[in-house]
Symmetry: C2
Subunit: 320 residues, 2 copies
Amino acid sequence: MAVYTDVNEAELEAFLRNYPVGDLLSYKGIAEGTENSNFLLHTTEGSFILTLYEKRVDKSDLPFFLGLMQHLARKGISCPLPVDGRDGTIIGTLAGRPAVLITFLEGMWLRRPQAAHCREVGKALAELHLAGMDFKMTRPNALAIAGWRELWEGARARADEVEKGLAAEVDADFVLLQKNWPTDLPSGIIHADLFPDNVFFLGNKLSGLIDFYFACNDMFAYDLATCLNAWCFEKDFAFNLTKGTALLAGYQSVRPLTDEEKAALPVLAHGSALRFMLTRLYDWLTIPDGGLVIKRDPTEYIRRIRFHRAITSPREYGLQ
Amino acid sequence: MAVYTDVNEAELEAFLRNYPVGDLLSYKGIAEGTENSNFLLHTTEGSFILTLYEKRVDKSDLPFFLGLMQHLARKGISCPLPVDGRDGTIIGTLAGRPAVLITFLEGMWLRRPQAAHCREVGKALAELHLAGMDFKMTRPNALAIAGWRELWEGARARADEVEKGLAAEVDADFVLLQKNWPTDLPSGIIHADLFPDNVFFLGNKLSGLIDFYFACNDMFAYDLATCLNAWCFEKDFAFNLTKGTALLAGYQSVRPLTDEEKAALPVLAHGSALRFMLTRLYDWLTIPDGGLVIKRDPTEYIRRIRFHRAITSPREYGLQ
């Protein structure tokens, strides 16, 4: 849930005068996204999302995120399109925060995705990787290994509160991952957070990708490994091989993996699971209870880490 | 903020098959309402609100609330209209909860209403009172004096934690109100919760009234007194006489008050302020921190109570 900042009608109407979106009919705070405040607007011209960036987003990254969305939309990727202001800028100010207006994408994110959806997600991810290849801006991945280490330093001392033995387990993971982490795989723009709530479907057809606020430059196969974690585990933490097979086949139908990428998949999936476990663990231990930020259980990702650690061949993910 | 219950796409689509609303395009949990879970739906036929009733709403009251909305809409009051199911029922079940689909009203609720808006609210309230006169169902006001007493019994022992001396002050109020509370004023259907977030405007024109989940039978002038509390105090707790004058004149332009109603306005406003102070106080003291229910500060209403206690003539509200 996320409406950290309310907006009054006078400041909103003043803000909207800069955008060619007609007259405001309604606006509702929506309970999606965990980093920003989002409103769904109806105007005489259609529906739009208004996003106010809260302090967890670095303002200097906004031109990258918004430029990327515009680039991808121009390349035919269905993603929200930032609306250009009449003054030529995209980013305005509302309620003291950087704010943008983006087009509204119809579609539902799936609470219970099936294998057919995983196949579509794989295809869309590969299309995204290809479409991003000629994007001119770059942004390093703040949540690559060095970033994980920083999170771990802030959480390690209390990690065993979440699960006894976790500190030693993660220490060993860092040794292993540092040794085996690939550095020369095909890289480019990755989404880096393509979880089910960031992919919309209309029926079985993928209708759009949203939330590019973790996008960065990193290995394509790492992005795919994150999707394995996000889409192919069941609620009981069992890996669903049918979904894994569908996701990987969907991806390869657009962009075949190199042999090196295939071989690296287990270590990348292991690292990706560690990355999401660490952000959750850090939030779990440092954000006070009762705040507006929803804290997600890190233990779901401890289970995934253990699964990946035991993988001996990428075929176990369904790779063909 | 209010999405207590999430809904998955499969159960939502099954639910919607019973309603003639076309195909689902999107649904977003919205951060409005404090008692229920609400979603804004886009379908091929338009926009709708899906409400899931959580445990704070008594299911046996739903036919009254929904029947009233249909009655008022038929009488020309702009309010959300429950959509009839193909099976002839209005109330369905979704995610284990009673659920209804209602039409979406465009319009914004005003964070900063002006006197001209207060006049429109007064008129709309009087129109609502007249339109409800031939509604056949009745519902006693659960938050009349007897209900206040129950809340007070659950909060009294800890009231001084909120403000020293509050317990003695409220005890004295009960004696006073019990003695002076009118019983024979014109009565009928009242909204009972017509706060700014329940009134939509497009520009300066009132476009609709929402949230009838406190509606009941009680004195019309009590409903008007609640609007004085809800609309005519500034953030510094000063009463805005211009707004009071506009609200009362707007009301009387549609339904003139009787002399008895005019004379009773101070005690009704006092009682209404006590009612909202008590529900807030009760929630403040009993709902654990960190829950999803937003707890509102009771002290805003302690200030209003003191203001009304000092009133010597209804003219001080702007009554003409």
